[in-house]
Amino acid sequence: MNNFLASLRALFISAPLAILMSILRLIFFLLLLIPGLLAKLVEWLKWFLKTKNLKEDEKEKECNPPFPEDVMRRPDPSIYSQHYLASQGIAVTWNNPDIWFAKANTPHIIENDSHHLQENTDYIVFVQVHNASTDAAIGVRVRLLYRPWSFNSPDLLPVDVDTNGNEVVKFVNVTPMGAIITKFNWRTPNLVSGEDSKHLCLQVHLSHPMDINTANNVGQENTRVYNSASNFVHAGELLNFTILINNIYNQPMHFRFGADTYSIKEEKIELKLKRNVGTERWSPSRKIMNAIPTIQRVRSKGGDMENRLVFGQSKQRQVIRARYIGYEDYKDKLKKERFPLPEGYVFTAPVNLELNKKEMRDVPFTLQVSPDALDGQELTVNIQATTMSGYLMGGVTIFLKIKN
């Protein structure tokens, strides 16, 4: 009986509606046929004039076409990255705000800085990973390496290894525009006999297969490991030190050096959401033919499904992407600012140092502390090595504490 009633419903309600709809669609089709064909003809003509070819070039059909972008998610894991900032003309420091320390036996006591670490001591290294995208960053790989104090020594070693000697890496998940902290264990190296202290550079490497910007993924932090020597300087003292530089290029290169007193000053900034609307590209002929009506099932306000006559089989899709902006003024301000050494401080470095291809050399520097430096005064000095074209090779940050 149900089947019979359903059949009657189909024959006497569904069929007439469907026939009516088809006639309506046919009328529209015929009305739009000429304009549609004309538009198509113009498109073909444009394509022919562009390619000068009657036949479309044979293309191998993609066996794995690109994935729909409106479904794909694009995170941006990031960390304070000196090279990336310097490439934009921004002053940088190697006192990385995203890397800090605590002794393993007192994990809740954060070290004031990384320039007073003790040798042969277990530390926890905290690494803060940001996500500068409106999409979550899932499975960001974090590596922590260290190398001798240098501008860019190639000897990178993992900070933490497992019992098999393999590097320990961490995987973190970061919410959109959020941050997360991960930890590594590090036993600081012993100093060799006669060594007062040793400088080491820590480097964090972030990676993610969908990273929308890989330039902000490497951050460095200078550290200094002590035995028991003092780290104070006095007014008028001449500091002598050497820093290793490595010519990574396959040709002789010239380098120059500079010093500044830049350090990050924390201010508040408001970031605003900016939307980027993308509209699906439709040819004129498609727009014309899309005017043909159809019956679509849509959800009413009450939540029920209902049939509705709509003009336009498909909708020209709009895709929204988003990011946050509002840092531009701060960036412009930073680009214009300079951070010279205070009066009385003199930095001396080789001028136009030439290195052969792949050569590594210890470069001597001096820093004259001002004779007028006051007791208790603290100063941060960043020393950068750049190529003659201005590309940052590396840098170090020195902390000075005056004790007269």
Binding site: S14, F67, R73, I138, N216, I264, E280
Partner: protein, 503 residues
């Protein structure tokens, strides 16, 4: 941020979901006749058509036209609105896994992909398969278990153990040389194909013994004593692979709407125990014949892994049905009118010619790249800076898929994520397109560095990730956020546009 990818299908509640074998009314009669008595149906159709033209003359095609026009909207409605059963429409559904097959675009415009849910690796899947094979050697060699017509004629398919050179037992498999491993794998693949067999009239149907074997195999994978390196059970995605009573209340409408896929009275891991006598009716088979258990997961024979199927919607079927209705109208009108004035032969030729012309016009005017398909769209952005390059999916990628969890009433009823609303690539396979037998330890040895993969995911990590993904997909993001200069410096004083969504 909230974004809802445009989807064309809707899932429906228990009681409303139906397969093509459940059609009622006129459609039901026709489908049933075609399925169960094709010969008689064709005969009846030809007789009816002939009789119609004899008695109605030039108007003889019209009854068929009206019938088809009555049926086609129902086909469209069914395909998009009652074919899929909602398993959990309201709650977030997220699954982490490894892509086991490059995605394909099918005839209906859907983009299809298969994933092996975490925390299983291909290595473990094959190990468990080998173990299950060994445990059920006698069962699989017993001819009395293979009396299912169409698939087997009382003869068990040759087991791999009967193949010369195949190790017995399989314990040494993973210690063997690469050539021997490949030989063993090839034999396992060939055996699973033989065990599955096929019904020439329905490629989705597999043999009962194949299903029984896989049910027992899945029971090994999902066993509570199958623990990861941290001592945690690996069965946290059981709900996507098997009807899970902790997620779907037993006896509820939803529970009853999903075919039985497990028999708790059987010790599936016992020697020769991978078989159950339990037979129940399957609502979607169109009859009340009791049937053996039906798996809710699919099995990739070539990879020897189970997988969950996922799809992004396309609307090609809607376009096809709409076009077919216009074409039928044109044909019916033409054949009737021309017949009245020029006779039946001229009418038929003219109508066919016009239909051909109509098809040609359709191809010219409507077929552009990607129309109706779930593929990459050409999109013009207001701001075309800071946009990412196109990306393809790769076999072996570890991904997080977010979307609606349904059961497809077709294809022998499987769980699916359909449509996929968000896709997060977490790691790419370090061995390009080959999925090797790598787990975490092997990958470290081979590559010197760990990569994210299925085996690193446990329940708490899966929950954390899914919570983050769900929040990212549904929660509104603020128009303004307070930050510090330190934070924006950590971003690199530059931001890029994230993934897109639909307005």
């Amino acid at each position: 941020m909230p974004r809802d990818i445009q989807s064309y299908t809707e899932c429906t509640v228990p009681g409303s979901a139906k397969s093509h074998k459940n059609f009622d009314g006129l459609m039901g009669i026709i489908v049933s006749s075609v399925l169960h008595n094709k010969g008689n149906f064709i005969t009846a159709f030809v007789l009816l058509l002939t009789t119609s033209f004899i008695f109605l003359g030039c108007y003889g095609f019209l009854p068929f036209y009206v019938t088809l026009m009555a049926l086609l909207p129902g086909v469209k409605d069914w395909y998009f609105y009652t074919r899929l059963l909602c398993v959990n429409e309201k709650l977030d559904n997220c699954v982490i896994g490894m892509i086991t097959h490059e995605p394909t675009v099918s005839f209906d415009g859907d983009r299809k992909m298969n994933i092996l849910p975490a925390p299983f690796s291909r290595k473990e899947c094959v190990e468990k398969l080998a173990a299950h094979l060994e445990a059920n050697k006698e069962l699989l060699a017993d001819n009395s278990n293979f009396s299912q017509p169409i698939f087997f004629n009382g003869s068990a398919p040759a087991t791999p153990f009967s193949v010369s050179g195949f190790p017995n037992p399989l314990d040494e498999f993973f210690l063997d040389t690469a050539d021997n491993k490949q030989f063993i794998l090839d034999e396992l693949v060939a055996y699973m194909r033989r065990l599955r067999s096929e019904d020439p009239e329905d490629e989705d149907v597999s043999s009962e013994m194949y299903n029984q074997f896989l049910i027992g195999y899945m029971d090994r994978l999902l066993s509570a004593d199958n623990l990861d390196a941290g001592g945690q059970p690996k069965n946290f995605y059981e709900k996507y692979l098997r009807k899970d009573a902790s997620v779907i209340p037993v006896g509820s409408a939803l529970w009853n709407a999903i075919p039985d896929d497990f028999d708790p009275a059987v010790n599936w891991k016992a020697t020769n125990g991978s078989i159950s006598p339990l037979k129940t009716t399957n609502l979607y088979e169109g009859d009340s014949t009791p049937r053996n258990l039906n798996t809710m997961f699919r099995f990739e024979n070539s990879m020897l892994t189970p997988y969950m199927h996922c799809e992004i919607d396309g609307d090609v079927v809607a376009d096809l049905v709409d076009f077919a209705m216009i074409a039928l109208t044109v044909f019916a009108a033409t054949v009737t009118l021309l017949c009245i004035f020029l006779g039946p032969l001229a009418a038929l030729l003219g109508a066919l010619g016009l239909a051909l012309l109509f098809w040609l016009l359709y191809k010219i005017l409507f077929e552009e790249v990607g129309v109706g398909q779930a593929g990459e769209q050409d999109v013009d952005y207001e701001d075309d800076t800071n946009l990412p390059p196109n990306i393809s999916q790769q076999k072996g990628d570890t991904v997080v898929i977010y979307g609606r969890w349904i059961m497809d009433t077709e294809h022998n009823q499987y769980f699916e994520i359909h449509p996929v609303k968000a896709y997060y690539v977490v790691a790419t396979n370090p061995n390009t397109s080959a999925i090797e037998f790598l787990d975490t330890h092997d990958q470290v040895d081979n590559n010197g560095l760990q990569v994210m993969n299925n085996t690193l995911v446990n329940k708490s990590l899966a929950d954390e990730i899914c919570k983050m993904v769900s929040s990212g997909e549904k929660d509104p993001i603020p128009e303004v956020i307070p930050r510090t200069t330190t934070q924006v410096l950590s971003y690199g004083l530059n931001t890029f546009y994230g993934g897109g969504g639909i307005v």
